[in-house]
Symmetry: C2
């Protein structure tokens, strides 16, 4: 074969250095989720196609689907929410409710690949199923804040709105329900195009000017959340949908405050209009103040979805982090220090006669808990071995030639400086351990 096949467009290999960063971030996220009592689950990559269809609207065409050998129609996992709903319906009797789970796994979309958008990408979701309590919504907002804080994400804010408030806007404007999406699309752009822009967009889509102004006045109320809720309650008095939304939002913000969630990381945003098809209560979107970063994930309460499978009422709420975007930002901004290699030391091999001594040393170091590589190439050229350590970023090499073996010594070479130091063979493991302690203290 003259030329090796590549990976498909929109799919990626990850080299060790990228993987070490990804593993570090995922392990950080797992730690945060588990500190909140969220527990891991896993579902298959392949599902019956009927499990996936009828859930994603027009985007359904992006599902990777095919017939398997048994002529079953199957599809590849498109997100982690629909599999969760199917999972809960299948395992109802083995789960304890409210059921808190996190799931970190790749999903597949036959989308047009472009910068930052992939056909196979990882999602990271935390959801609570089986309760309508706003405590659950406070849990998912707070775990999100802690997860993004744990990776040093700069200046992010979780924007919070409520679907029932959004739905009441059409009533407020006095226009038919089917114009609600037009209103949402317009107000969602308020920060970008300003009041005049929003007014124009609504009018050009057939909303009368006075109706558009009523909507705009409402979503432009400013102040502390409590004040905004009071003002909304006055203006929307008698609108039962709005009253329910306001009451739930009051609880949610109160709970976040009581939990000690950092209020600089969440905000009421009456213009946030995401995910209407799906959500039934609070909706969330994590955004960076850095415009180049943008959205870091979105989510909300979806009380109907699990019931589609189980036939029973199982309310649910959750959050979903856009992992690929987060990895990109971490790399661009250098947010997290992950090592470039796993090995703390490379044991070199002087020549064919000294392989045994080098193997004995590397075995001893590993048993002492030091991540240790040994050069296993066929040629025992020391320069080549030091180059191997340098290219991989291994900080120290150990050299034991016939002279050192004779005198019971090992040379420890600091790769960053080239400094070399002789250490008694019996004390090598301890010398490396103490060098590693010094490295950590210097960090």
């Amino acid at each position: 074969m003259a030329r090796a096949p590549q990976v498909l467009k929109g799919m990626r290999d990850f080299l060790p250095e990228q993987m070490l960063l990804r593993q570090h971030v995922l392990s950080t996220f797992r730690g945060v989720f588990e500190r909140y009592g969220f527990e891991p689950i896993e579902t298959p990559v392949i599902e019956y196609l009927e499990t996936l269809t009828g859930k994603y609207g027009e985007d359904e065409k992006l599902i990777y689907s095919f017939q398997d050998r048994g002529e079953r129609n199957v599809g590849l996992r498109y997100d982690l929410t629909v599999p969760l709903a199917r999972f809960v319906a299948n395992h109802r009797n083995d789960l304890t409710f409210p059921f808190k789970r996190y799931h970190i796994a790749p999903v597949f979309r036959a989308d047009r690949p472009q910068r930052g958008r992939y056909r196979e990408f990882w999602q990271c979701d935390a959801d609570i199923v089986g309760t309508k309590s706003m405590m659950a919504d406070a849990e998912v907002v707070s775990v999100w804040i802690d997860a993004l804080s744990a990776i040093n994400m700069p200046g992010f804010v979780v924007h919070i709105n409520h679907r029932k408030l959004l739905m009441s806007l059409a009533e407020v404007a006095g226009v038919p329900d089917d114009q609600t999406p037009t209103i949402h699309r317009a107000i969602d752009k308020l920060a970008k195009i300003g009041e005049d822009g929003v007014l124009k967009e609504m009018q050009s889509n057939g909303i009368p000017e006075d109706a558009a102004r009523r909507v705009l006045d409402l979503v432009s109320i400013t102040g502390e959340p409590g004040e905004v809720f009071d003002e909304l309650a006055r203006r929307l008095a008698g609108n039962s949908m709005a009253e329910e939304g306001i009451s739930e939002m009051r609880s949610l913000f109160d709970f976040l405050d009581k939990m000690g969630a950092d209020s600089s990381h969440y905000t009421l945003d009456l213009t946030l209009a995401r995910g209407l098809d799906y959500y039934t209560g609070p909706v969330f979107e994590a955004m960076s103040v850095d415009a180049n970063i943008g959205s870091l994930g979105g989510a909300g309460r979806y009380d109907g979805l699990v019931g589609m499978f189980s036939g029973e009422d199982l309310p649910a709420t959750g959050c979903s982090l856009g992992l690929e975007r987060i990895f990109d930002v971490i790399q661009e901004k250098n947010l997290v220090a992950a090592p470039s290699t796993v090995s703390k030391v490379l044991v070199t091999v002087f020549n064919g006669d000294t392989i045994g001594e080098s193997l004995a040393l590397v075995g001893e170091l590993r048993r002492a808990g030091v991540e240790s590589d040994i050069y296993s190439g066929e040629k025992f050229d020391l320069r080549r071995q030091l180059q191997y350590a340098n290219r991989k970023g291994i900080p120290r090499t150990l050299i034991l030639g016939p002279d050192e073996i004779q005198t019971g010594q090992v040379i420890v070479r600091e790769m960053s400086t080239g400094d070399q130091q002789s250490v008694d063979r019996a004390n090598v493991a301890e010398a490396i351990h103490s060098a590693l302690r010094a490295d950590r203290a210097a960090d």
Copy 2:
């Protein structure tokens, strides 16, 4: 929808308790691989079909394949070795050789599902690419031994043979090369069906009795590996293929000894005949002495495969652990203690008026690093909350009703005994930390 769709046959969901065990085992394996300087990589689930075809012989029909929306023929990852070969060919210039990688990921086979055999299952491979040195083979055998030891796998032994020794058997027997597979199939059963059985099987497949006896005499040589190699060298003198095999095996066993690999966990097995299509040097199989457990994984040296993609000679060797089998054994034999839940404590909620106090407490515990759940159900029935903790296996619950809030106390309840103890609200985090320390000390 009256009845929820299920998962496909041969595919599985994993509940939190299973996932916690799986994550614990995978994290143990990662730790062992990294102690040896193996580094993680990841490849896509979907590959061009041409990458996968022509590598698996007759089993190729088990590849999940389909046309994507762009009418490209694609297939789901069938193992981790072929993707490695494609990866190395694609990223040659970004890798440092010898390239040591591990890869833990699900693979897909449209096989007939049966007990212990799944259509989606996880593999766990460690390979070294770019060296013919037997040091690399010693590394993969030793990392296998350490990985299986780290999960307390009882009585396992890595059986080692060499393809060149296996190939020389036809010459020894004086039969045509195309009878080699017949010989291998027969001797592979020696432990099971005995010498007579093996002789009969060879004869019934057309191998003359004296030829069959010559083969059997050879593979029945016993003794320390060094003695066996000496005896083989005498008997096979002049057979250049056998001589190469013997010389490499001497190095491999010498290197394992020098590294300090535990010799009770590896053995020379001249009857081991796995994977002939693929392997070019040493072949390995990890087996449990417990017949109910059987094979835990297999592997060997495959110097030709990477070259199929890169057009260059890139020798490689590796090992592959059968993760699903290992998980099954761990569960059956209770080899590894993994917790049933992530949470160390459940904060209960007394009533609607005390939610804030409970949220403040759970927030504080989490910030103090204690994995803490809070009951977020809609009903504040204490019995129901204790049941939630019991079902999940959360060891302690915290109770703070109006009386405790008044007096600045929190009740800590030990779920295993029902013992309750009052603790000053200010000291709860420290009390839980010290209880956890006591739990660990008692383990």
